[in-house]
């Protein structure tokens, strides 16, 4: 193990890690928006939109992110839609994550007792108000374990971005292995950086999960 080599290339990995985190953050936020929208659409069974949401969720959950990215990055330019690697990565991650988040929110909504919905309506709240003030706060709290699991899953999925020419951690590692044959150092840095990114998030997730167990209303949680 050459420690000098590790010291020399750590900044390169740090830059790559920041790129990964930036795209993951944008992708996860957009996934939450898409997921929330799909979950609400499916909960109220809004015609047409419900069918679209169901179709989207099944397509997205039953295909690999890598194939989705290839389609976006290499396929779409053939019909004149040219996207940068970063744009493809964000769109791909959102396309994948949206369905996972939708299922997480939906499982939360299903777990909120029906009487909550009925009571809110009988108090004169509209459907929108019921969702916003009564159902969603409880559903989101119930969905926290699934949501945090999805966040970790999506950050791990970002490792395929090198396939659309983004200089992420995998890309740097592969590059260095090819350039200098310092395979051990390149791989140690790769593993170390993924641990630095994912371990705190994973610990935070289990902490949050424990806190959220008290958030349920009455005896439901």
């Amino acid at each position: 193990m050459e420690w000098g080599y590790i010291a020399k290339y750590t900044p390169m990995y740090a830059t790559a890690a920041l790129l990964t985190l930036r795209i993951a953050a944008v992708g996860i936020l957009l996934s939450l928006v898409v997921g929330l929208f799909c979950a609400v659409v499916r909960h109220f069974k809004i015609p047409i939109l419900n069918a679209i949401a169901v179709g989207y969720i099944e397509l997205s959950r039953n295909t690999p992110l890598l194939v989705q990215l290839f389609l976006l990055y290499f396929g779409l330019p053939k019909i004149g839609i040219k996207l940068s690697g970063e744009a493809c990565a964000v769109i791909g991650l959102t396309f994948l994550g949206g369905s996972y988040m939708a299922e997480a929110f939906r499982s939360g909504l299903v777990a909120v007792e029906k009487i909550q919905h009925e009571s809110a309506l009988s108090l004169g709240l509209t459907n929108g108000q019921t969702m916003r003030y009564v159902l969603m706060p409880q559903a989101a709290a119930l969905a926290v374990p699934a949501l945090t699991a999805n966040v970790i899953f999506l950050i791990k999925e970002t490792s395929v971005f090198s396939a659309v020419a983004l200089a992420d951690l995998m890309y740097v590692a592969k590059d260095l292995i090819g350039l200098h044959y310092n395979t051990d150092e390149a791989l140690v840095l790769l593993v170390a950086f993924y641990i630095i990114i994912l371990l705190p998030i994973s610990l935070l997730a289990s902490l949050l999960e424990r806190r959220m167990r008290y958030a349920g209303f009455g005896g439901t949680a």
Partner: protein, 223 residues
């Protein structure tokens, strides 16, 4: 449309399916190995011994926290260096997916076994069943019901994750697609779009029925 017709020329379509078969072969062998090893590891995880607990916990956490692609790189590039083992892409893939699948399956088995309430064992013994009979007639049937739906879910995850092997040089469905696109870049310049759409739906057509089946069983067996 002429671009889509490329698939019908020569052996292109057949080759694409051969590529798909490589993907499926890798994922199915990994799933089968993971189920067998996962049951053993899962039993191991239910032991109350602090040493086995710490070991299995560390294994599970490490495998879970690392992206599968990183594990593939470790096996494909790292093992060669450290142990002088020169594994082919396919062997590294089966190795990595089995190590990962075993961890996931082991955790499922552990969850299923520990979720069977104590009184199920006690009642079985009270009825005069021997330990082995209690397992065969009472515990294992209930464990299986909780185990099969998530195991099916793991299978579709495995099939989707297997697409990563193209990045360590295995010639599977995506690679064959790329080869067809490259070979026809002059007579069918737009083929990339269609071929990737076809591959996208091939994955969908394989994974969708499997995950549907899993959901069906889960709803049927919900207790």
């Amino acid at each position: 449309m002429r671009d889509l017709a490329v698939l019908l020329e020569g052996r292109n379509l057949a080759r694409l399916f051969e590529g798909l078969w490589v993907t499926l072969r890798l994922s199915l062998s990994s799933v089968l190995l993971s189920i067998v090893l996962g049951i053993i590891v899962g039993m191991f995880m239910t032991l109350k011994n602090p040493v086995t607990r710490a070991v299995s916990r560390a294994y599970l956490e490490f495998v879970r926290i690392m992206p599968q692609l990183v594990l593939l790189f470790l096996a494909y590039f790292g093992l060669t260096r450290v142990f002088g083992l020169n594994l082919s892409g396919e062997t590294s893939a089966v190795l990595v997916f089995t190590v990962w699948g075993t961890a996931e399956m082991g955790d499922l088995v552990r969850g299923a076994v520990t979720s069977i309430p104590r009184y199920q064992y006690d009642s079985a013994y009270a009825l005069g069943l021997t330990k082995i009979q209690a397992y065969i007639f009472v515990i294992i049937p209930q464990t299986l019901r909780r185990l099969v739906p998530p195991a099916i879910n793991l299978t579709t995850r495995m099939i989707k994750t297997t697409s990563l092997v193209v990045l360590i040089g295995v010639v599977e469905v995506l690679k064959v697609g790329q080869q067809i696109i490259e070979a026809n870049r002059y007579n069918a310049p737009g083929a990339a779009l269609w071929i990737y759409i076809v591959i996208f739906f091939l994955y969908f057509l394989i994974c969708f029925p499997i995950s549907r089946f899993g959901q069906l069983l889960e709803n049927k067996w919900r207790d």
